[in-house]
């Protein structure tokens, strides 16, 4: 892919106090502003500021790309001790930029120059002293390096200056001035340096809709989706990597008439969300695996009480506190099965940033329509990764799908949990005349009264499960989709969530090698679109399921639900899957098939 156009990946590596992530952020925003397609992902430590490795990788392309590359073209080291192990990730004739005058006396091998390979091009610069000279502080080293990068590769400095101004908007004016000066100082040096590597920035491609192109993270897209879907209330509690949903909504939602509250914990957050849902508001919370674990009890209440609520779950490395800043897809079991009792809920998993937007909005439709909690499964890699996207022209989300009191025109007592043709009950909202009822976590009958009669529990369990079947054909929503070769193929790949980007890139590469293959993304994980998956599997000689967890939770879900074998490809390192890993497995399966 991208054989003709621009395809460059930058990796900024440093420690948490170096402003590594901020540098990556400015870089990707500037590049998106210039009109490149951007995919970017940051890796940062759980440690307190000042310690631990941070990596910000930014891939810019002119053709569509679906994931990051294994090899970076340019490595920018803000801290050699962290960046040195990553020198190998720079391709031949790629560039390595580093501090040429560290203040500490280094032992032999302690400096980047000891590690840059002959095939790579070293660029040393006096980052720290330039920062100190220009800003009287070493803190702007990251900005100095960005300036250098822009000067070296001839990137329009204005694009950076605007982003820098925007980034430090909330700070004192002097901060912006200083950082701009730091950028300019670095730029001047970069311009004067003789460029030796063959990293070339081609012109960006701007299509007709270029003016609308914007860059956002998965979490940012969720926020946008929430707002477009008319989210009324949001309750949240900070937890990596979902925190930014709270933060962004705290900033944005009030502008659209909604309310945000930071509660004292996840238990309180989901409780408040369900309380608001019960009252008729579109309500949501966002958390990660540990928060979801705390919330499962309350999610059970949502299922039992048939109260709409949306829970965005950005997965990270587990179990327990696990690896808070590392990505993983290991909360599938918890999201689909977690909680007490048979508490089926809708679980959706978008595969890219644009999908985050659509799924977020549709989650509210579904929660409302099917009167149930909806869990939207993201993961750190998707939540935090940036992609350039084109927002839709018109708001794609239905404002109100509540089957209201109007749907019930019977006599007698209002059956809040009446079993109907589509098993969805008419729901009255507090404040509505004639719809007063009680919701409880206890098993109850159609009137909402507690009942532990065996036939009642059987019937109500069936009702609560069968109403969700409607979600499989929810309008304007892709619950799964096939890519690649049509008809019978040697290798089929089933994927979900953030890993699907790598799956697509691997599948395209395999096709280039002449392997017949296709891939299917499954967005709706519960209830599972069994028929569509079975049809796909029927076409495939062998089925590969790559995912980021140890057990193969999705593979287990599929083979458990369908009784069919699949080949697992699991990785639980905390890092995203590599395209090459999937490709190698496709090759292996294709060869095995041939033999």
């Amino acid at each position: 892919m991208n054989k003709n156009g621009t395809d460059i990946q930058f990796a900024v590596i440093g420690s948490a106090g170096d402003g590594t992530i901020a540098a990556g952020d400015i870089l990707k925003r500037a590049m998106a502003g210039l009109g490149y397609k951007v995919i970017a992902f940051d890796i940062y430590p759980a440690e307190i500021r000042g310690f631990g490795k941070c990596i910000s990788r930014v891939r810019i392309t002119t053709e569509q790309a679906y994931s990051l590359k294994r090899h970076s073209d340019v490595l920018i080291s803000l801290d050699d001790s962290y960046a040195i192990p990553h020198v190998g990730e720079v391709r031949d004739y790629g560039a390595v930029i580093y501090e040429s005058s560290p203040i500490a006396r280094l032992p032999e091998g302690g400096h980047m120059t000891a590690h840059v390979k002959p095939s790579q091009l070293p660029y040393g610069m006096q980052v720290r002293s330039i920062s100190e000279r220009v800003t009287a502080s070493a803190r702007s080293r990251n900005i100095v390096v960005l300036g250098y990068l822009a000067g070296l590769y001839g990137i329009d400095p204005q694009a950076f200056r605007e982003i820098i101004a925007d980034k430090f908007r909330t700070k004192a004016q002097a901060v912006t001035v200083q950082n701009t000066a730091a950028f300019d100082a670095g730029y001047e040096v970069g311009q004067s340096v003789f460029k030796l590597d063959d990293v070339q920035l081609g012109p960006p491609v701007r299509k007709g809709d270029s003016g609308k192109v914007t860059m956002m993270t998965g979490n940012g897209a969720v926020v946008r989706g929430c707002i477009d879907a008319g989210l009324d209330t949001f309750f949240g509690y900070p937890i990596t990597p979902a925190t930014t949903i709270l933060e962004r909504l705290a900033a944005e939602l009030p502008k659209h008439g909604g309310r945000v509250l930071q509660t004292e914990d996840e238990i309180s957050a989901i409780a408040a969300t369900i309380g608001a849902g019960y009252t008729g508001a579109r309500a949501a919370t966002a958390t990660s695996g540990p928060g979801l674990a705390l919330m499962t009890e309350m999610l059970g209440l949502g299922v039992m009480g048939e109260v709409p609520s949306v829970v965005f779950v950005s997965q990270r490395g587990g179990p327990s506190t696990g690896m808070p800043t590392k990505t993983e897809q290991s909360d599938l079991n918890l999201a689909v099965f977690g909680g007490a009792g048979d508490a089926q809920r809708i679980v959706l998993a978008p595969t890219n940033v644009e999908g985050c937007y659509r799924t977020a909005g549709k989650a509210f439709e579904m929660a409302e329509k099917y009167q149930t909690p909806v869990v939207v499964l993201l993961d750190l890699y998707l939540s935090n990764r940036y992609e350039t996207v084109i927002p839709p022209d018109a708001n794609p989300f239905a404002p109100n799908l509540n089957k209201g009191l109007d749907a019930w025109r019977g006599d007698g007592e209002y059956p809040r949990f009446a079993d109907t043709d589509d098993h969805i009950s008419p729901r009255a909202l507090p404040g509505e005349e004639g719809g007063m009822h009680t919701v409880t976590g206890l098993e109850h009958n159609q009137l909402g009264k507690p009942s532990d009669a065996p036939e009642n529990h059987l019937a109500m369990n069936a009702k609560r499960h069968r109403k969700l079947d409607g979600a499989l054909s929810h309008p304007d929503f892709t619950i799964c989709k096939r890519f690649g070769d049509e008809g019978p193929v040697d290798v089929g790949i089933l994927g979900w969530g953030s890993t699907f980007g790598e799956i697509l890139e691997a599948m395209f590469a395999a096709q280039d090698e002449g392997i017949r293959c296709s891939a299917m993304k499954v967005v709706m994980l519960s209830p599972l679109p069994k028929e569509r998956i079975v049809a796909f599997m029927d076409d495939c000689g062998t089925v590969l399921v790559p995912e980021l967890n140890y057990e193969g939770q999705f593979a287990n879900l599929i083979s458990g639900a369908l009784g069919r074998p699949v080949t697992k490809l699991t990785r639980s390192t905390g890092a995203p899957m590599q395209v090459e890993e999937i490709l190698a497995e496709i090759r292996r399966l294709a060869q095995a098939k041939a033999a």
Partner: protein, 342 residues
Amino acid sequence: MGEAIHNVIIGNGSAGNGAAITLRERDPDCRITIITMGSLPFYNRYDLPRVFRGCYDWREILVHPLSYYDDHSITLRRNSRVTDVDARSRTITFAHNEVMHYDRLLVCAGGQGYLPEELSDYRGLMSGFGSFEAAMTTYKALPAGGTLVMLGGDMIGLDLARTLIDTGYRVVLLTNEYTFWPHRIAEDERDGFIQALGHMGIEVVDGVHPVAVEEGEAGKPARRVIFDDGGDVQGDVVMPSYGLVPTAEFMLGSGVDIERGLLVDPMLHTTDKNIWAAGDVCQIWSAEDNAYRFYYGWNNVRLMGEMAARNVTGANEAFEGLEDERLRIDKKGHIASPFWEH
């Protein structure tokens, strides 16, 4: 088994690389580190005029493939400037504050272009040709068919001048005692050689003494060289070519004897038992001349590197400069220097 002996070579030119491969051949187990201030692997500096013949990619002038260093287990440290050598503790300190230990040190740091002190204020207005980067910068500064004003000459500069004339540029040469550096020219031969320069198409201005360089006026070429008699000459690029002076400053205070360059015996051994030197950086005692001598040129320098490496690894052989260092005039009436044969 103890740790492998660490042989460190400062300098990534002909001498340093000749030394490295010789060391590797003679000791398959030792550690070899080449240190260079440049950012490129070993390339042929004498080949740099090729940029005027369309060679814009540094990979084309590399002497070895990039895998060479890995294949021979040679560590190449680029962009690394040595600021200090401590012969007592056998450590090297880099400008980037790293400290490296060596067992045996081979200084092959070469030379750098000399600029007379009286012109030092005008350094910023002059171009260089000492590295690929400098060569490309000069190339870019010179418009097609433009004029290069060369101060001095020297065999490196004159080699470039030949190429420039071949490729359609003008070269104005202000001659002086450095014009035929490093060749020693007898007084009575000089006029003949100067004439030969003219035959080659070089516009020779003899007997002037430049004292200043200025930016050209609007609409005129970019540079103006002013003489002590008030006269001047104009060109797009001014390039000083006054021969080389050894890059030996970092060795001051190391404990090794230095005059212009590192003083070595014919075995290329410095006055420290663990330090050898080779190439343009060293002044070799010549028993024949009863004087310390420099030896220049690709072949001499490479031979020195190899010889030093042999002596590092136990040989005890004296270096003798190659014969035929004399400047000649060929059949076409052009100057021919053994310095240009590499």
